[in-house]
């Protein structure tokens, strides 16, 4: 993964230096080295052993910057891809453009971590967002990868939308089933005691099993309800933090560097 994002920057080493004579010499030796490298390694079948053997200089020479998409086109592709992934809720992040170190870069941040994607394909940042973004950048820098078109409403959901109605039908049905089985189980145990403990032994066992199943069902529903409440709360607070109108303080970028004055509320960012 890191390989792919490092490669575009590696391509810059072949940029000409200021002295024309030296440049000519450099070009010559680079050409020579490139020919050697191509004779030495089979790039169609490049294995782990080759990777261990190849030196950084050889790697730089063999790297062809034109085979990778970089620059603004890369950022645009990454933006579209990330929007799609945010729409599918695979990535939890906000997207904005900012000028970092004099370069226009894409910044993805959530409430706890961030990633800065530079036009040359390097990714900086920390946490989950970086892990989510890195493969995206690698894919988007490949010509053969088709970026999916994001849906119009790709944003993270509004915190208010979450509290929407959701029926309790499933929970009620499971509780109904649990009550019914509990009653039937108790009845079965009663019949077993009345009709004869030895002759109706199976009935007693069935009763106990039914009671156990009903308790398990009750437990399941209780757990689902409780964890659902906490999870909704946690997710809502996360969404509220990210859309509160302030950029998180851990971002190493000044507010002036961003292309927009205020951080976008969920409905507005990057909408041209």
């Amino acid at each position: 993964m890191t390989d792919a994002s490092d490669e575009p920057s590696a391509g810059r080493t072949t940029e000409p230096s200021a002295d024309p004579a030296a440049t000519g010499d450099d070009d010559q030796s680079v050409e020579d080295l490139r020919r050697q490298v191509e004779a030495k390694y089979d790039f169609e079948d490049f294995s782990e052993a080759d990777m261990a053997e190849i030196s950084p200089e050889e790697w730089d020479v063999a790297f062809d910057a034109d085979t990778w998409i970089t620059g603004d086109e890369l950022l645009e592709r990454v933006e579209r891809e990330l929007k799609t992934r945010i729409a599918y809720r695979e990535v939890f992040a906000m997207l904005e453009y900012a000028v970092v170190d004099g370069r226009r870069s894409l910044v993805a941040y959530s409430d706890t971590d961030y990633a800065i994607i530079f036009p040359d394909g390097t990714v900086e940042g920390r946490g989950t967002v970086v892990r989510d973004v890195k493969p995206t950048v690698a894919l988007c820098s490949m010509e053969s990868y088709d970026v999916e078109e994001p849906p119009a409403d790709w944003h993270l959901p509004e915190p208010a939308d979450l509290a929407g109605e959701h029926s309790e039908l499933g929970n009620w049905m499971l509780q109904l089933l649990a009550i019914a089985q509990l009653v039937i189980g108790v009845v079965a145990i009663g019949i077993w005691l009345v009709q004869g403990i030895q002759s109706q032994l199976v009935l007693g066992v069935v009763g106990v099993v039914l009671v156990v199943i009903s308790l398990v069902l009750f437990l399941m529903v209780a757990n689902a309800r409780l964890s659902d409440r906490f999870r909704t709360e946690a997710y809502e607070s996360r969404l509220r933090t990210i859309g509160s109108g302030d950029r998180p303080s851990f971002l190493p970028i000044d507010d002036e560097a961003f292309e927009r004055d205020a951080p976008p509320r969920n409905r507005s960012p990057l909408e041209e």
């Binding site: 294995s47 782990e48 052993a49 809720r89 695979e90 939890f92 409430d111 706890t112 971590d113 946490g127 989950t128 979450l162 929407g164 959701h166 029926s167 039908l169 499933g170 929970n171 049905m173 499971l174 109904l176 089933l177 019914a180 089985q181 039937i184 009845v187 079965a188 019949i191 009709q195 109706q200 199976v202 009935l203 069935v206 009763g207 039914l210 199943i213 689902a224 659902d228 999870r231 909704t232 946690a234 997710y235 607070s237 996360r238 933090t241």
Partner: protein, 134 residues
């Protein structure tokens, strides 16, 4: 959101339950069928259906069918419940090292061929005779 600096346990995705109409109808029907089956099974046991001498053994088959139907039905109810009536939640977890992270090399992904470089017969010789030429 976590306060300790770690993001483990943060909720990455929360999609409310789908609760389609078909699933709602299905889970209601299955629940009632389940209750009927369970009560029938208990009634059958208490009425001695399972004792072969009384009815040529047909009752035993019926009880067996009921028992299996009860469990199958319960399985489908739980399946529907989990799929349609619980939210789709994804939380941040730590990925633990797996066996393949530690012991499988990239070059061995395809496994190793039995024949090797020198052919299958050579491999067998090497396996049965430890001092065979290296």
């Amino acid at each position: 959101m976590s306060s300790s600096g770690s993001t483990y346990g943060d909720i990455h995705r929360y999609e409310p339950a789908r609760e389609s109409t078909a699933a709602a109808i299905a889970i209601v029907l299955l629940t009632f069928v389940q209750i009927i089956f369970v009560s029938l099974f208990v009634y059958g046991l208490s009425a001695n259906w399972g004792v072969a001498g009384l009815d040529a053994g047909v009752g035993n088959t019926l009880l067996g069918f009921l028992l299996s139907a009860i469990f199958l039905n319960l399985g489908f109810i739980l399946l529907l419940y989990r799929k349609e009536f619980l939210p789709d939640v994804m939380i941040v977890k730590k990925r633990r090292r797996k066996w393949e992270d530690l012991y499988v090399r990239e070059s061995d992904v395809e496994g190793q061929s039995l024949a090797g470089d020198a052919g299958a017969w050579d491999t067998i010789k090497r396996a049965i005779y430890p001092y065979y030429k290296r």
